[in-house]
Amino acid sequence: MESTFELIQQSIAKKLEIDITTIKPESTLEELGLDSLDTFDLIFEAEDKLGIKVPNDEVAVKTIQDMVSLLDKLIQEQKK
C-alpha cells in the first residue's frame, strides 16, 4: 500500500500539474502555491481515500510533513 506521503504527493502533483519529485516532506504548502482552500480540497480527497474524518480545528498545517503526520495520527485514532 502506498504511504500517506505518496498519496498526498500524487494529489498535489495532479492538482498543480507539476513534477511529483518537486513535492518533498519539508515543502510548505505556501511555496508549492497552495492556499487554504486548496488545503481543504486536498484533505477532502484524503478523507475519501483514507476513510477518515479530519476535524475542522485540525486543518491548519504548514508543511507536507505536517499534513502527513496529522493524517497518520487520525488513521491510528479512527481505525481503532
Binding site: K15, G33, D41
Partner: protein, 415 residues
C-alpha cells in the same frame, strides 16, 4: 470630484465574447452577417433523457484556457466570463497599472450562476447518496462568482455587482455600469453577462415551461424563428459577452479605440404577469432609454430586438415598437440575432449589445434568419434572411425583456 450629480459620457473601448457562433468578436459578427446558426443537437451524456434535444452550445473547453488549479474554482459560467473579459481588456489595450483601480468596477449579469456546480452537488447528494459535497461547491455555484473572478483577474477594487433579472440581466448590468460611470462613481468598468445553464436539470425545467422550440423538421439549425408564422419557441443558448466601459475624456486622452458611446438606458418592471410581457411595460423601457439619450424615435437606425421566437414576446415587442416609434416603426430595420445564437438568457443582452455595436462599427445589419413567412401580426422590417449594408447608422437600440418583468433597453451611438 465624485458626486452623483456629475454627468459624464461613457464609451465602449473593448469587447469579448464566448458564443455558439464564435469565441471572438470577429468570428461572432461575421457568423451573424453570414447567417450561420449555432443551433445543433445537444452534445451531452443525458441527451436521451431530453424531450428537447437542441440548443446553442458554445464550443469552449475550460482546459484550453485555464490550469487545473484554476478550473477547480471556476464553474463554466465563470470560465466564460473570465475568458470574455480577457478578450475585452486586450481589445481595449488597457494598462491596468495606469488606472485608479479603486475606481474600476465590474457589473455582471447572470440568470442561473454556477448551474453545473449546483447540479453536480444535487447529483452527488440525491443520486449517488453521498453524505458530503466538494469543498468548492458554494464558491462555484454562487451567482456572484463570475463577477468576482473578473474583478480578481484585474484587481478591480471598485463596485463588484451581479444582476440577476433573468433574460435582461446583462443589459441591466451594462446599463447600471453606464450610470455608475456617468454619475462619477467609477471611471472604468467591465460590464456584461455570462450564462452556462445547459445542464440536465435546467433544460428539464425549461422543457416544463413549454416555451422551447420544436426541432425544425428539415434542418434543426433553423429551429429558432423569431417573428415567423411557424415559430415554435426559443432555443436555449450559453456564452458570455463582456464590454470595457470608460469615461469618454479619459478614453480619448489615452488614445483608446472607441467602438461606440452608450447614449441611453431604460429599465422598467412589467408587473402584468410573471411570464407574459405587456405593451405598456416594453414600450416604457424603450421610451425611457430614448429620453435618457435625449433622442427622438427617428434618430434610431436599427433595433436589435429581444425577439425570442415565443408568441408572446414577438407580438408584444412588435406592438411596443409601433407604440414608441409610431409611423417611423415601419422604416426602422429590426432584427433578432437569436435566430442564430439562440437565447443566452442572462448573457443574451451582452452578446446582442456586441452585435448592435458592431452593426454601427461595420455599417452592416445582422439578419433575422429562418424568416420565410412572417406572422401577419408581426409586420415590421425584420431584415429577413440576409444581412444588409446601411450607410446611415448612428444610433441603435438593443432590447431585452425578461420573465419576472424587468426590461432593459440600451441605446448605443457612433462617436
Amino acid at each position: 470630484m465624485t458626486t452623483s450629480s456629475m454627468t459624464r459620457r461613457v464609451v465602449v473601448t473593448g469587447m469579448g465574447v464566448v458564443s455558439p457562433v464564435g469565441n471572438n468578436i470577429d468570428t461572432f459578427f461575421s457568423s451573424l452577417i453570414e447567417g450561420r446558426s449555432g443551433i445543433k443537437r445537444i452534445e451531452a451524456p443525458f441527451i436521451d433523457q431530453l424531450d428537447v434535444k437542441i440548443a446553442a452550445q458554445a464550443h469552449f473547453k475550460g482546459e484550453d484556457h485555464f490550469t487545473k488549479q484554476e478550473l477547480a474554482l471556476l464553474d463554466r459560467v465563470s470560465q466564460f466570463a473570465v475568458f470574455a473579459a480577457r478578450q475585452a481588456s486586450q481589445d481595449a489595450k488597457m494598462d491596468f497599472t495606469k488606472i485608479d483601480l479603486k475606481r474600476a468596477s465590474s457589473f455582471i449579469g447572470t440568470g442561473m450562476g454556477g448551474a453545473s456546480a449546483t447540479e453536480e452537488g444535487y447529483h452527488r447528494l440525491y443520486r449517488e447518496n453521498a453524505n458530503r459535497l466538494k469543498p468548492f461547491t458554494v464558491l462555484n455555484a454562487m451567482n456572484g462568482a463570475a463577477g468576482s473572478h473578473v474583478a480578481m483577474q484585474y484587481q478591480l477594487l471598485g463596485s463588484n455587482l451581479t444582476y440577476s433579472t433573468a433574460c435582461s440581466s446583462s443589459n441591466i448590468a451594462i446599463g447600471e455600469a453606464y450610470r455608475n460611470i456617468k454619475h462619477g462613481y467609477s471611471d472604468v468598468a467591465f460590464a456584461g453577462g455570462s450564462e452556462a445553464l445547459l445542464t440536465f436539470g435546467t433544460i428539464k425545467a425549461w422543457e416544463a415551461l413549454r416555451t422551447l422550440a420544436d426541432e425544425d423538421a428539415s434542418d434543426l439549425s433553423r429551429s429558432s424563428k423569431p417573428f415567423s408564422l411557424n415559430r415554435s419557441g426559443l432555443v436555449l443558448g450559453e456564452g458570455s459577452g463582456m464590454l470595457v466601459l470608460e469615461e469618454m475624456d479619459a478614453a480619448i486622452k489615452r488614445g483608446a479605440h472607441i467602438y461606440a458611446e452608450i447614449k441611453g438606458y431604460g429599465t422598467m418592471n412589467d408587473v402584468y404577469h410573471i411570464t407574459q410581457p405587456s405593451v405598456d411595460g416594453q414600450s416604457q423601457a424603450m421610451l425611457s432609454a430614448l429620453h435618457d439619450a435625449n433622442l427622438k424615435p427617428q434618430d434610431i437606425h436599427y433595433i436589435n430586438a429581444h425577439g425570442t421566437a415565443t408568441k408572446y414576446n414577438d407580438l408584444m415587442e412588435t406592438q411596443s415598437i409601433k407604440k414608441v416609434f409610431a409611423e417611423e416603426a415601419y422604416k426602422i430595420p429590426v432584427s433578432s440575432t437569436k435566430s442564430m445564437h439562440g437565447h443566452l438568457m442572462g448573457a443574451t443582452g451582452a452578446v446582442e449589445s456586441i452585435a448592435s455595436i458592431l452593426a454601427i462599427h461595420h455599417k452592416k445589419l445582422p439578419p433575422t434568419m429562418h424568416l420565410d413567412q412572417a406572422d401577419p401580426e408581426c409586420d415590421l422590417d425584420y431584415v429577413p434572411n440576409e444581412a444588409r449594408e446601411i450607410s446611415n447608422i448612428d444610433h441603435v437600440m438593443c432590447n431585452t425583456f425578461a420573465f419576472g418583468g424587468t426590461g432593459g433597453v440600451l441605446i448605443f451611438g457612433r462617436v
